[in-house]
Structures are given as structure tokens and as C-alpha cells.
């Protein structure tokens, strides 16, 4: 029974740490499916986390925080869109620039506004998204195995966790069952086909990056006002890049993206759980090595275990009408 308890704890933690990855990964999916590569997921998430925590601290409302996070991340997404869609700039350079701007400006503004060394004030009460107890969770708690699974694993997360997981079927539906999705997938594969069909490539790609902004904003808000109680500098800690790796791993498909994010989340959760514990045979493993595991796994998986991941064919290439 103790083993089940430990596994439940790890899975519960897995879900919590997977959420920012999942939101960022789906964010990247919209953008990259439309042919706009985005390595600025990290920066947008960070900016969203900062704006969310700041607004929540000032207004005392988690919802205002979420709104500020989304608006800020959409703004950065539009900057990326302006550089790479309207001005046909290099999408990688633009993404890197956004990461740098976000990393620097959150610290400077945080220090200027709150004077706590780049942190935002600690949030509590309505300024955070608290845990939601799903109906019946308490009633079934004592049912063996399934009870704890429902009441601890599924119930008791914040709203954004449920939103994130609902975004998976929603994204699938948008992508494969709607006109917008058809066009979105087409513009990432062959923008000229979209253009000659009388659809604006520019507007379509802008809508995609706006979606990306909304989702990265939510990812950031989750980090600073749901999972944690405030913004800490560099709190995204590479999650935007892991999300990109998960996106490639999932071959730009929503459902596999969820599983990829859960896998990376599981590794992170397990690494936290087993930190400092001696392993059989090997003995004590340095914390740094455990922390590096998700990254090492990413390299190994991407290097050969997933087969060939073919990105959207027009990805990374600004659309120019050919002469």
C-alpha cells in the first residue's frame, strides 16, 4: 500500500509539473503548424508569469493576473509575428530576442516595482488559483485504489490544470475538424497553395501566433499564480525548450504532445522525489545528474528513438510570393 501511495504522489506531481509543458507545447503547435517556428515560448511564458504575478499582487485577483499574463504573452507573440510574418525576418533570431528581452525585463521591472530582488510579493487567497475539489471526491476517498486515484490524482488541482488537459481534445478538434484548422495546417505545409486559394497567409499566421500567445500566457500564469505563489526570476527554467522538444517528439500532433509532456513531467517529478536517495548498486546519485535526466532523455529520444520527425514543410520560411 505504501508503494501505491508513493506512485500516486509521483503521478500527482507529474500532472502538476506537466501542465506548463503541455500549455507551452500546444502553444508551439499552433504556431509551428502554421509555419512559424517559435523558440520564444520560454520568453513568452516567463513574461506571462511575471505579468500574472504582478497583476495578481496589485489587484488581489487571480483572474486579473491571468488576464495580464495572457495580454502580455500575446503582445510578445505579436512582436514575433510582426518580425517574422510581416517583415519576413529570421524566426529563430526573433525568438531568441524575445527570450532575452523577457529574461532581462522581468528582473528589472520586478526590482523597480516591488524591490524584492526581482521577486513579486507572495500571493495568497483569491490572488491564486486554488485547488478545486471535484464532486464526489471526498465520498469515494475510501474506495480501494480507484478512490485515491480519483480524489488525489484527478481531483484537487487548480482550474488551469483542467483547462490545459481539455485543450488537448479541443486542439485536435480545431486542427482536424474545422475550416480554420485545415487552413492552418495547409499554411504550414504550402503557403502558396493557401494564397492561390484566395486566403490571406498573413492573417492566418497572425491568428496562429495569437493562439500561441494566449496559451503561453496561461502557462506562465499557471507557474506564478497557481503552482507557485509569486514570480521568481527565471522561473520557467527551460520549460519552453522542453516543450519544444516534446512538440518534435510528438511530431506536431496534439494527443502525442500530451503524452510527451506527461513523460517529461514524470521524469521531473521522479527526479524531485528520488533526489538524494541512495539507489541500489549505484549508491547515491548526484542531484545534478538526476535534474539533467529529462534533458539527456530528450537528446536520446530525438537522436533516434522516435523515427524521423518531419516538421511542417514551410516551417521557418517566411512566405514571399515567388516571381
Amino acid at each position: 500500500m505504501e508503494f501505491v501511495g508513493i506512485m500516486l504522489q509521483i503521478f500527482d506531481a507529474t500532472i502538476r509539473v506537466s501542465v506548463p509543458l503541455l500549455l507551452a507545447c500546444l502553444a508551439g503547435l499552433y504556431s509551428e503548424r502554421a509555419g512559424v517556428f517559435d523558440i520564444g515560448l520560454e520568453g513568452k511564458m516567463l513574461a506571462g508569469a511575471f505579468a500574472g504575478a504582478s497583476a495578481a499582487a496589485v489587484t488581489g485577483s487571480a483572474w486579473m493576473g491571468l488576464g495580464a499574463a495572457v495580454v502580455t504573452a500575446v503582445f510578445f507573440a505579436l512582436v514575433h509575428g510582426f518580425a517574422s510574418i510581416t517583415h519576413r525576418g529570421n524566426q529563430i533570431v526573433s525568438g531568441v530576442a524575445i527570450n532575452f528581452i523577457a529574461a532581462g525585463s522581468t528582473i528589472i521591472l520586478g526590482q523597480a516595482w516591488f524591490r524584492q530582488g526581482g521577486r513579486t510579493p507572495s500571493l495568497s487567497g483569491d490572488a491564486r488559483f486554488g485547488a478545486i475539489t471535484l464532486p464526489g471526491a471526498d465520498a469515494v476517498r475510501d474506495v480501494p485504489v480507484l478512490g485515491p486515484v480519483y480524489s488525489e490524482l484527478i481531483s484537487g488541482h487548480s482550474l488551469l490544470v483542467y483547462v490545459a488537459f481539455l485543450m488537448v481534445p479541443f486542439t485536435w478538434w480545431v486542427l482536424f475538424r474545422t475550416r480554420f484548422g485545415l487552413r492552418l495546417r495547409a499554411v504550414g505545409e504550402n503557403p502558396a497553395a493557401v494564397d492561390t486559394a484566395g486566403i490571406s497567409v498573413t492573417w492566418l499566421r497572425y491568428r496562429a501566433v495569437i493562439f500561441t500567445g494566449v496559451l503561453t500566457g496561461m502557462a506562465g500564469a499557471y507557474l506564478s499564480i497557481a503552482q507557485n505563489a509569486g514570480f521568481v526570476k527565471d522561473m520557467t527554467a527551460g520549460k519552453g525548450f522542453i516543450a519544444l522538444a516534446a512538440l518534435i517528439f510528438a511530431k506536431w500532433k496534439p494527443v502525442p504532445a500530451m503524452f510527451a509532456c506527461l513523460l517529461f513531467g514524470f521524469l521531473e517529478a521522479a527526479s524531485i522525489r528520488f533526489q538524494g536517495l541512495p539507489w541500489p548498486v549505484i549508491g547515491k546519485v548526484p542531484v545534478q545528474l538526476i535534474n539533467a535526466l529529462p534533458f539527456i532523455l530528450t537528446v536520446i529520444l530525438l537522436a533516434g528513438f522516435i523515427g524521423k520527425a518531419i516538421p511542417p514543410r514551410a516551417g521557418g520560411v517566411p512566405y514571399v510570393k515567388e516571381r
Partner: protein, 510 residues
């Protein structure tokens, strides 16, 4: 006379300093097939892109059915009943046929109903015009002929009355092209108007009712097809008399210079592209390899010239083996007298960012005549480039100009001059006249015949069947990686066409 479906009045269009279209007037009669011919860069595609709303004219007017129409985007063109089949298909490769057809014409926000509607509409179009295609097949799995059919269906699904086809036969086998022409004829009989852009004069003569000729951005003439000739059209296109037939004497084949035995080549995915191919080329003859693009010709010449490693088989140059399965390298082969004019001059044949003189010695730059100790002898290289420019009539005649600024025909001449002037014993030429205009084609063909007459062995691959037929002394046909037939220079287009499509003569007779 029938009424005009489309009228273009005083169309002008410039790209920077280049005037792509100047004061174009054109009238296309309803229910006819109207051909537009001209050399590469004459402005045909630009004009049609204006009509389709892909570009906007700087000035001028478009009238559809007698009424002035404002066509600013492809949407306007579609609304006016104009559809276009682009030279490079505007299809999404990993989408199904039906998804490609509804893209941009879905009607509703959810796909379910629009797909159902498209399905029944496709059945109707299939019956009416004989355009059969599996609606659920993925585009990337369809042969190009069918992909083109999807493009036509796309236009018809948007109820186009006027159909513009830009160089539609470039990628087709002769039987596929014939099938396309039957479809076009059928569309015409149903009252559609068809505009056919091509540089192949024979197609114009075969299928069009009227033909307009463009030269250097201007419309130089419009003729009734029945009252003109290929010679007249060629002269109008180029602006001077052109010799369409290549004059050549009887070949005098000498010793075997290049011998290929049981060569097998696979591509990077492990698919066999060249399958147990054997042939030889003698001095003083041109051996042509005909075939639809993608049937292994490219891999074959890459393997022989040391660019791609073969899996098995052997190749001998002047009786001595080339290590094609191991470490054959193009530099060594060049020293042994094997020159190669690659198919893709932009990516393999030239460095476009280099100056002309640098490209004109590329690969031969370590020959003593171009060196001054360890350094390049700039003066000698310049002088050498100038000589080649004069001999091959490369324009503009400036060896310091960036290669990207030369036209396709002149770039090809730079490559040919470089390879031919080293006096190789064996010359392998891929697509010597792809994207090259009529005037330069004549020149390039003459040079190739001259090489042959000097006793060199020439191996020619080309997707232009006319080119293969007029230059080659022997013709090999490649299909699915194999040589499926050998014919003499008197082979008819019909029998080569069947071989290219993989159909043996006996089968065809049945």
C-alpha cells in the same frame, strides 16, 4: 465571331527595373483553347498571374465577359470564374485530394458538411469530364499526372469558366500529356474557355484554336492556329530565324570510352533508383537516356560522375575502372577526362554568389595554368573567362559579374564552357537546356554535336523527348530504374513515349 471571355487592355507590369509586361492587349474568345507562347522570361506567367490576381498590374484593364473586372486577389479571380493550374502545383502534399479541393472553398466553419458536399460534387465532375481520382488518396502518393488532375478539379469545383494552365505538360509523360489534351478538348466542348501557356510549339499546333506570341514582355502577334506554322511562331518568339532541326552528319562511333556494367544505385531512403543497368558509350556518338523525371536517370549520372555512391556494379572509363562503389571522386574523374554538366546548375553546377570568372574555372582551379605558386592567378583566370565568354557568346560579357545575375541560358553556357573547354574524352550532360530559351538551345545543341564530331563520347539525359530524339545517335529509355529499351535515332515519339510509361510494345499492341 464568338464573344470574348477575357479581354486584357493595356496591361503594364514592372518588377523594379524589369518591365515584365508592356502594354499588353489580348482577347480570348469564349469556348476556345487559346495558346500563349514565348521564351522563358517573355512575361507569359506574369501576365497570367495578373489575370489570376496573384500580382496586380501597374496599369491596364481586365474585362471578363465584356464587363470591366477588378481583380486584386485570387479570390476576385475565382469569383469572376477564372481558375488556374499552376506550373508548380499549389497542393498540400500531405493532405488528401478532397482536403486540397475544398481548401479555401470550404463554405462552412466545420469540415464535415463541406467534405460531404465536395464528395458528391466530385462524383458529378468525374462523370461529366472523365476526371477520375480517389478523393481520399494523399497527394504525395499520387503520380504527377493525377496531381495535375486534382488542380483542374480544384478550379472546376470553384465553378471556373476560364481555365489557365501554365506549362502543364512539363512534368508529364507523352501518354499523360495526350490524356490531358483529351480532357481539355472535352472541357472546351462543354463550353469552358482554356488558356494554355507553353513553350512547346507542337502542343500549340496540336490543340489550340488561337495562339498569341510574347517576346520580351510584349505581345508581338496573335494568329489563328490553323493559319500559322511552327517556323513562323518560332521566328516570332525569338525575333529572328531559328533552326529547329539539328543538322548532323552520320555518327562515326569509335572505341568504347565509357562502359557501365550491372550498376545498381539506391537513394538515401534505401529505395533502389538504378536497377542493374548496363550500357556503353563510344567515342564519336551521343547516347541519350530518355525517361520521365524521377526514373533513376539523375542517380545514374550522379553515380557515374562520382557524386553518389553505387551499391554494386562497375564502370570503366577508357578501359580502366572507376571505383563507383567506393571512393570515386569527381575531381579524380575530371583529371581522367570525364566532364559532367549537372542537371541542377543552381545547386550543383554553379555557386551563384561567385563571380562569373570564378565559376568558369570551378573544379579546375588547381590546374597549373590558373595558379601562381599557391595562389590563384587572377589575371590568367580573367583572361580565360573572357575567352570563354567570347566563344560561347555569354551575355552580359562581364567576367566580374555575380553569376546569379545571368539568365538561365547564360548560366548554362558558363557551365558548358567550363566543362567542354577542358577537352574531356567523355562528357555527361544532364538537362542541358532546362530553363534555357530557344536561341540558346540552338547554340548548345550545336556545341554538343561538335563535341561528338571531335570523337568524344557524350552521354545525354533529358526529360525533353524532342531533345533526346534530335541529338542522340542511340536512345536508351529508363523506367523505374531499369533500361527498358534501346532504339536508334529514327525512333518515333510514339514508341519512346510508351517505353517511358513502362509499356512494352507487345502490351501496347494488345
Amino acid at each position: 465571331m464568338a464573344e470574348a471571355a477575357i479581354e486584357l487592355v493595356g496591361i503594364n507590369k514592372s518588377f523594379g527595373a524589369v518591365r515584365a509586361n508592356r502594354d499588353i492587349n489580348l482577347e480570348i474568345q469564349r469556348g476556345t483553347i487559346h495558346g500563349i507562347v514565348g521564351e522563358n522570361g517573355a512575361g507569359k506567367s506574369t501576365l497570367m498571374s495578373i489575370l489570376y490576381g496573384f500580382y496586380q498590374a501597374d496599369s491596364g484593364e481586365i474585362r471578363v465577359g465584356g464587363k470591366p473586372a477588378v481583380i486584386k486577389t485570387p479570390n476576385d479571380a475565382i469569383a469572376a470564374g477564372i481558375g488556374m493550374v499552376h506550373q508548380h502545383f499549389m497542393l498540400v502534399q500531405n493532405f488528401s485530394v478532397i482536403e486540397n479541393i475544398i481548401l479555401g472553398a470550404e463554405g462552412e466553419a466545420l469540415l464535415k458538411t463541406s467534405i460531404a458536399k465536395a464528395r458528391s460534387e466530385l462524383v458529378r465532375l468525374e462523370k461529366e469530364y472523365g476526371l477520375e481520382v480517389d478523393p481520399d488518396a494523399l497527394i504525395e502518393e499520387l503520380p504527377v499526372g493525377l496531381q495535375q488532375r486534382v488542380e483542374i478539379l480544384k478550379a472546376l469545383y470553384r465553378s471556373a469558366d476560364v481555365l489557365i494552365l501554365d506549362e502543364p505538360t512539363g512534368v508529364l509523360t507523352p501518354p499523360e500529356a495526350d490524356h490531358l489534351f483529351r480532357i481539355l478538348q472535352k472541357l472546351k466542348d462543354e463550353g469552358k474557355t482554356i488558356v494554355l501557356i507553353t513553350h512547346k510549339l507542337r502542343e500549340i499546333m496540336a490543340i489550340t484554336d488561337n495562339v498569341s506570341v510574347m517576346r520580351q514582355g510584349a505581345m508581338v502577334a496573335t494568329r489563328e492556329t490553323a493559319r500559322t506554322t511552327v517556323e513562323e511562331l518560332a521566328e516570332l518568339m525569338v525575333g529572328r530565324r531559328v533552326l529547329l532541326r539539328v543538322d548532323k552528319d552520320e555518327a562515326k562511333p569509335g572505341a568504347v570510352k565509357l562502359q557501365v556494367k550491372n550498376l545498381t544505385v539506391k537513394d538515401s531512403r534505401g529505395v533502389t533508383m538504378v536497377d542493374d543497368v548496363s550500357f556503353d558509350v563510344r567515342g564519336g556518338e551521343i547516347v541519350g537516356i530518355a525517361g520521365v523525371a524521377g526514373n533513376g536517370q539523375s542517380e545514374l549520372i550522379e553515380a557515374i560522375s562520382g557524386i553518389r555512391r553505387a551499391v554494386s556494379g562497375s564502370v570503366e572509363l577508357d578501359g580502366k575502372p572507376i571505383d563507383v562503389t567506393g571512393f570515386a571522386d569527381p575531381g579524380e574523374l575530371r583529371d581522367r577526362g570525364l566532364a559532367h554538366v549537372p542537371e541542377d546548375r543552381h545547386h550543383v553546377g554553379l555557386v551563384l554568389a561567385f563571380e562569373e570568372n570564378e565559376n568558369s574555372i570551378l573544379g579546375y582551379h588547381d590546374k597549373p595554368q590558373y595558379l601562381n605558386g599557391p595562389f590563384l592567378n587572377i589575371e590568367a583566370i580573367q583572361k580565360d573567362a573572357e575567352e570563354k565568354i567570347a566563344k560561347y557568346d555569354i551575355r552580359p560579357g562581364n567576367p566580374r559579374l555575380r553569376t546569379a545575375n545571368f539568365s538561365g541560358g547564360n548560366q548554362q553556357k558558363i557551365v558548358l564552357a567550363r566543362e567542354m573547354e577542358q577537352d574531356p574524352g567523355v562528357l555527361i550532360v544532364g538537362q542541358p537546356t532546362r530553363g534555357v530559351d530557344v536561341g540558346a538551345i540552338e547554340f548548345i545543341h550545336k556545341r554538343l554535336i561538335a563535341m561528338r564530331d571531335q570523337g568524344k563520347a557524350v552521354l545525354l539525359i533529358s526529360v525533353e523527348l524532342d531533345e533526346i530524339r534530335s541529338l542522340s545517335d542511340r536512345i536508351l529509355v529508363m523506367f523505374a530504374g531499369r533500361i527498358v529499351g534501346e532504339r536508334g535515332e529514327d525512333a518515333t515519339e510514339g514508341e519512346l513515349g510508351l517505353l517511358m510509361a513502362g509499356i512494352e510494345r507487345q502490351e501496347a499492341a494488345e
